[in-house]
Amino acid sequence: MAKHSIMVIDDEKIVGDMAKLSFEQDGYEVETFLNGETALKRLEERRFDVVVTDLKMKGVDGLEVLRTVKKLYPGVVVIMITAFANLEVAIEALRDDVHDFFPKPVKIKELKASIKRALGEA
């Protein structure tokens, strides 16, 4: 069976770096992006099994990434992480069928468990 692929988008470089190290340890294929624009461009080229995205980013934000993914690949799971979110934003994300919602600081184990559930591995 081919490796599952994960896209990680966060304007904080460390988030991508650490997620990549940790996820690859578990046998996932990981690509990281520092903003929404480059991520959306990459999504036009290929599909990922899971998209983990920061919510608040300059330019294309997490909600826009979520909508684009759902449009291009309706089956793909999107997990949102955010440093600060109010209820309205969370509700909006849920309406757009977000799979999970993690406030920062993120527990990587929980994030991985959520990914596993999404991929039907748990």
Binding site: I14, M18, A19, S22, A83, F84, K104, P105, K107
Partner: protein, 473 residues
């Protein structure tokens, strides 16, 4: 005294004066009328006396009985007239003169009665009669002349009194109006000045104790309004501060959570992948932790800087000198970035009253932003000018850098708002804004993408703040 009462009093004084003058004039006219009536009567009497004397002469010359009867008729006629007009005559000349006149007439009548028409009178009686007739006529003529003279005197006197009263009333009216209008005018000017200054946001009170009249009441009301407005503005400022505190808290949560999350993720991953890491890689992890803590420290430092503004050390300063000083601080940055500087400093600037350290901080912040917006090359223009109308100075920092998009421009003074990818905390302009506002100044910004950005700082002159004589506050 209230203006209302002043006007009542003035009217009362005017009415009193008019009544006094009127009654005086009326009294004089009555007097003149009485005297005039008397002179008319007296003229009649005088004519009769003259006829009596003529008849008397005829009688003596010709022993004319008809002349004697004529005299007797005249005496009777005059006696009746005197009795009939007794009231008018006594009113005009007094009882004594009336009695004397009547006395002379009676004397004359007695002498005439003793005459006999058939025989001529003896020389003694003749002389006596002549003498008495002469007395009667002369006395009557004298009092007539005297009364005519009196009428003239009364008219002259009345004319003078009327003239003086007229001027007195005119002068009183003029002075009273002048005093009242002058006082009201002065008070109104004060009120106009004050309301002007209030509308400019300067909530000062009218100095001194307000007068007891309506103007004083208006001034007290305006003073109360100024106080109330000042309180309201403070409340608005406070609520704006609270609103910006809300923005701040949201920003703080986001800004602090990011480095915290980074540290947390580094720690979690470090533990997870520890075995597969080289010594250098492990050090690399720790360096990144250190960098993130530094980032946190900087955010907290800047926050504290704003939240607890250090005590201001205000002093009189020359704006151009402050600009020159910060240039030496940023010269190195300008050189590295290859940026030319153009100074357009006005030489008529009044001194300002500032915390020089804080204003330097603001200017350095603006210049640093400009340098970062220009990247390599470009021209930084620093202009100072005096706005004589507002008594304020303006410092303009203009760059020809990349500019700020309109949608960002309205947020650039918000806390944690930054257009810089990595290096900004988003607090610099926010802090600068607070400092300038604390100096009763203002910052405004204009920008065009691809053309450049211009920041304009305005600060009141020390004269406007009435602080030119102050050293350290």
């Amino acid at each position: 005294m209230k203006i209302e009462h002043k006007i009542y009093l003035s009217n009362a004084v005017h009415i009193l004066l008019i009544v006094l003058i009127g009654s005086f004039a009326l009294q004089n006219l009555n007097q003149i009328l009485t005297k005039f009536r008397f002179t008319v009567i007296a003229e009649g009497l005088n004519a009769t006396f003259l006829e009596m004397r003529l008849a008397e002469k005829n009688y003596f010359l010709y022993g004319d009985a008809e002349a004697l009867a004529n005299i007797r008729g005249k005496i009777e006629q005059t006696g009746t007239t005197l009795l009939q007009l007794r009231h008018d005559i006594t009113r005009a000349v007094g009882t004594e003169k009336y009695d004397r006149l009547q006395g002379y007439l009676e004397q004359y009548a007695v002498l005439v009665a003793s005459l006999d028409s058939d025989r001529p009178p003896d020389p003694v009686a003749r002389h006596k009669l002549r003498q008495t007739g002469q007395n009667l006529k002369t006395f009557s003529e004298n009092i007539t002349a005297l009364e005519s003279e009196r009428i003239g005197a009364i008219i002259v006197h009345s004319k003078n009194i009327l003239l003086y009263s007229f001027w007195a009333v005119v002068l009183f009216a003029f002075f009273f109006s002048y005093l009242t209008v002058h006082n009201i005018g002065q008070s109104l000017r004060k009120i106009v000045d004050l309301t002007r200054s209030i509308s400019k946001g300067n909530y000062q009170r009218i100095e001194g104790k307000p007068s007891g009249d309506e103007m004083g009441a208006v001034m007290s009301a305006i003073n109360a309004m100024a106080g109330e407005l000042r309180k309201r503005e403070q409340e608005i400022v406070q609520s704006k501060r609270l609103a910006s505190l809300g923005v701040l808290v949201a920003g703080v949560a986001h800004e602090l959570n990011n480095p915290l999350n980074n540290i947390s993720m580094i720690a979690q991953t470090y533990a997870e992948v520890y075995d597969g890491l080289s010594r250098e890689e492990r050090i690399g992890f720790m360096v990144r932790v250190d960098e993130e803590t530094e980032r946190l420290r900087l955010i907290i430092h800047n926050l504290l800087d704003y939240a607890k503004p250090k005590e201001q050390h205000l002093a009189r300063a020359a704006a151009n000198q402050v600009i020159q000083k910060i240039l030496s601080l940023v010269q190195n940055m300008l050189d590295i970035s290859n940026i030319r500087i153009r100074l357009l400093l006005a030489d008529d600037l009044p001194d300002i009253y500032i915390d020089e350290h804080q204003i330097q901080q603001v200017l350095v912040n603006m210049v640093t932003n400009a340098i970062q917006a220009m990247g390599q090359g470009g021209e930084l223009r620093l202009t100072s000018r005096y706005l004589a109308g507002e008594d304020e100075i303006e410092i303009e920092i203009a760059d020809n850098g990349k500019g700020i998009a309109p949608e960002f421009l309205e947020h650039i003074f918000d806390p944690f708002f930054t257009t810089k990818e990595e290096s900004g905390t988003g607090l610099g302009l926010w802090v600068s804004y607070g400092i300038i506002k604390n100096h009763q100044g203002n910052i405004r910004v204009t920008s065009q993408v691809g053309v450049g950005t211009t920041f304009v700082i305005t600060l009141p002159s020390c004269k406007k703040l009435k602080r030119c004589d102050d050293g350290e506050a």
